[in-house]
Symmetry: C3
Subunit: 364 residues, 3 copies
């Protein structure tokens, strides 16, 4: 598996119907409780929270909402506490990262898919596959020869696990996923329905002459390898590499209908929003953010901490962190018709401007 | 379920091989028959219809085609009848909306997927699920606890229906669909293969410091809710909401590979063409038309009756009806290289133009 | 089936662990061996190949790599041989197309999915379906009435084959594919997981008035027809036609998450890269190359040998071969904000430039 520093907590839920005291959350999150030790049954945003719910403030713009909120307790950063304390009777939980703690609290209160270890009778599991008893294997799952699953792996149903695939502990795979032969998925991953991991990269050699020809398929003998703590959205596709692997490093979060071509490497903790696509052999750094519907061309290198706006096509390597955008601004259709036509003349317009500048400034 | 005004007719077919008299269609469609009561066995476009087929005219541009058509009968609007009657020996069916009636007639003549109520032996149906006898449950379908299906629901096979899902009467779900826990699908819906309803919205809280960190998953505890008469295309994905629901209102028609993020609301009778994507928490009005490959950013409000051209990125709210476009015009590659380079200088070009204008008009 | 000239070789593998002599490859590829008859166990790129591996040179830019390569043998074109022969002690295989032969050699050395003829017990095969004994039918496959499969068709699992579907010899369908009723797939095709063939085209007639209304579904009674030697990527979708068929001609290679709408015809040997989309009733010529994330509008005609860059929207027909691009160049976000704003003024800028030119050149 690929690395496991910053190992994520497995989301654990409280038993349904149980409340939790604020003091217990203070212990869990390493925070300081200020005010009464209220009993909480859930989380909610500031403007909607009730007395039994925990809210959070992370953006100073919403300070006013705190004063009006009826939340029983509010997660805050110490730097915001002074201006808030006198404005509300709620309790406070002072933490370094209110938003992240809110997410963790939400995990505590939310219902996880029911965990039912065991093998559904309809599952088709090869005799040579290693499937611990703690695994949950749902209906119509097929597991091929030589597969090795970790502890508590959950395959909710209708999923195909190809020969020799390895999946790490605590990984959850929703219904109807395909994992092609030999691929590797780390621990604590979540894979949503319809995802395909390890399909052939798109590789063909042209063999055409004046009398005809064909595209000759180049076998894709690498694998697709996902590190620990990766989440992959519904109907996303990750191709196996041509010879080397396609790699999604630890902690990446990938949304729905994302396409990742062969031999791409996505750096750790990078997030990729819905319908984005990354072409072959491109390397993306760590902690990047790729916007929805963005497209990154092949054979590029994108540095760490690069932010790519939604809808943006990246056609050259990006050597250093920064925020990059390429979006055609929308306008009423009739305006667009006039303006778009000029785009075909931009180079000539610039030449005409130069000519005027030259003529004018020389004449003076 | 969400509303059910304008309840759509369930497409019903004539028994294969049966013809229908034009007079019968007149009754069905509330139209006026003019000319002989011909026997019809099918529909076809004007330029291809034969004497046993029904065609239609809805666009005055095609009036000439009527004169040359060999159709046995033609659906027309009364306002076109006068200029047509003397030019053809076909029969006429005068209706308010020839195109829509043509579609309904086509439904009559087309073969529906065979309806076979009953449960395939290989289906895995939880004992607590309510599955009427009129339902058609195909091979390798899994239905979870607490599911409630309406009458004549058809699950053609290989589909996963999660716990607590509700599906309304007469809904047809093609093979290989995933519906996550607790989601709701209305009556008379059609869901195509590979669609995913209710996958987790894309929500993560950053928790990073100089020593590392992770993206903390925000549980997605809302649902995905589809109203009546919604059609959802192949491999489309609709995420569940973070706390509230993601809602597709009645009568929407959504094409293939469309991505709908968490907490989006799509207004009634809106159509969304293939590969479009709508980011989280955006509200789209009723009767909108979203073009193929369009992208709508998150947290926006789009009014009713807005038309968005294909390939267009919408990055701000649209407060009133209109037609909006943002498409980079295509050109020969060498032209594009010259013109695209100037795009990076547009702001400077404008400044230079201002300078020339100022200098020139001041000098005069 | 659609045509079968230029019938592709079925990739055959050597038994694992077997080496092959260079002379045998010379016979297979119709090439000339120069130098010792080395034993080869695999292929690799020039910079990584070892003494038991075959490499290739097709691009003169990499001539230097040949001198430094440790490959046992190198595929070359005769025109490159003279400048290379004295620079390396490897053996040579002189062929017309080194890259294509490299691909074929790679096929020989790569492991194919294991071929296991027979029907998995869990498969649900209609009694009227014709399924030769040479077919491989995996777990949880459903095959409908009247289906006709060719010899050695492999359905790896979890796939739905609708009524009346025909599939040609040697076609390989990976897990979790849906083929709707009546569709046709040629011989030697490869279909990747999650693909959907034959879903309804997106056709609706508006029937709205001041009191409400609906979109009336237009039945899609055509089929989706794939020729021989077509490869279709993961989660791609090909809609059936409205009345006529949607056609993918022989030898096309289509990547992942491509959307092909109803009544499109894609010409032979055209390649379409990932996430591209083609709208309804468009015809694309032969030997075209459609870049990733490109979008082609409907009802267009694209000539043969057209190259469309990635991310490009094609909105008009293209009557002759050429290379076309429409990509908004990316830039730092702050630059984009300044430049994109000017795009809404382009038409006015041009008018202002004309005005200056007129005033200036008239004054002189």
């Amino acid at each position: 598996m690929i690395g496991s520093e910053s190992k994520q907590d497995i989301p654990t839920s409280l038993p349904i119907g149980n409340d939790v005291e604020l003091s217990e959350l203070a212990v869990r999150f390493g925070g300081e409780m200020i005010g009464p030790n209220v009993l909480l049954h859930g989380v909610a945003p500031l403007h909607r929270a009730g007395s039994g719910e925990l809210a959070f403030l992370s953006n100073p713009r919403y300070v006013e909402q705190v004063a009006q909120s009826r939340a029983g307790a509010v997660l805050v950063h110490r730097s915001d506490l002074a201006k808030l304390q006198h404005r509300s009777t709620c309790s406070w939980l002072v933490v370094a990262n209110p938003y992240a703690c809110f997410a963790r609290a939400a995990q505590l209160f939310s219902a996880q898919p029911a965990y039912q270890p065991g093998r559904c009778a309809s599952a088709d599991i090869d005799a040579s596959a290693q499937v611990p008893q703690s695994c949950q294997i749902g209906p119509f799952v097929s597991i091929g020869p030589g597969v090795v699953l970790g502890e508590r792996v959950k395959l909710l149903g209708h999923t195909h696990i190809g020969a020799g695939v390895r999946i790490g502990d605590d990984t959850l795979i929703y219904s109807r996923v395909s994992v092609y032969d030999a691929c590797v998925i780390g621990a604590r991953c979540i894979v949503h329905s319809g995802a395909v991991i390890g399909s052939d990269g798109f590789g063909f050699a042209p063999d055409f002459s004046s009398t005809g020809g064909q595209w000759v398929k180049i076998p894709q003998t690498g694998r697709a390898v996902l590190g620990d703590d990766v989440e992959l959205g519904a109907n996303s596709t990750i191709d196996r590499g041509a010879m080397d692997d396609t790699v999604i490093e630890m902690g990446c979060k990938i949304d729905n209908q994302v396409q990742i071509a062969h031999n791409v490497r996505v750096g750790a903790f990078t997030v990729i929003a819905g319908t984005a696509a990354i072409a072959g052999s491109t390397t993306i750094g760590k902690y990047c953010m790729v916007g929805g519907a963005a497209n990154i061309a092949g054979h590029l290198t994108i540095a760490d901490k690069v932010i790519i706006s939604g809808g943006t096509a990246i056609t050259k390597s990006i050597p250093a962190a920064g925020h990059f955008t390429a979006v055609f601004p929308f306008m009423p259709h009739s305006e667009w018709e006039k303006n778009a036509a000029v785009l075909k003349q931009l180079s000539k317009l610039r030449a005409r401007l130069r000519q005027i500048e030259f003529a004018f400034f020389n004449k003076k």
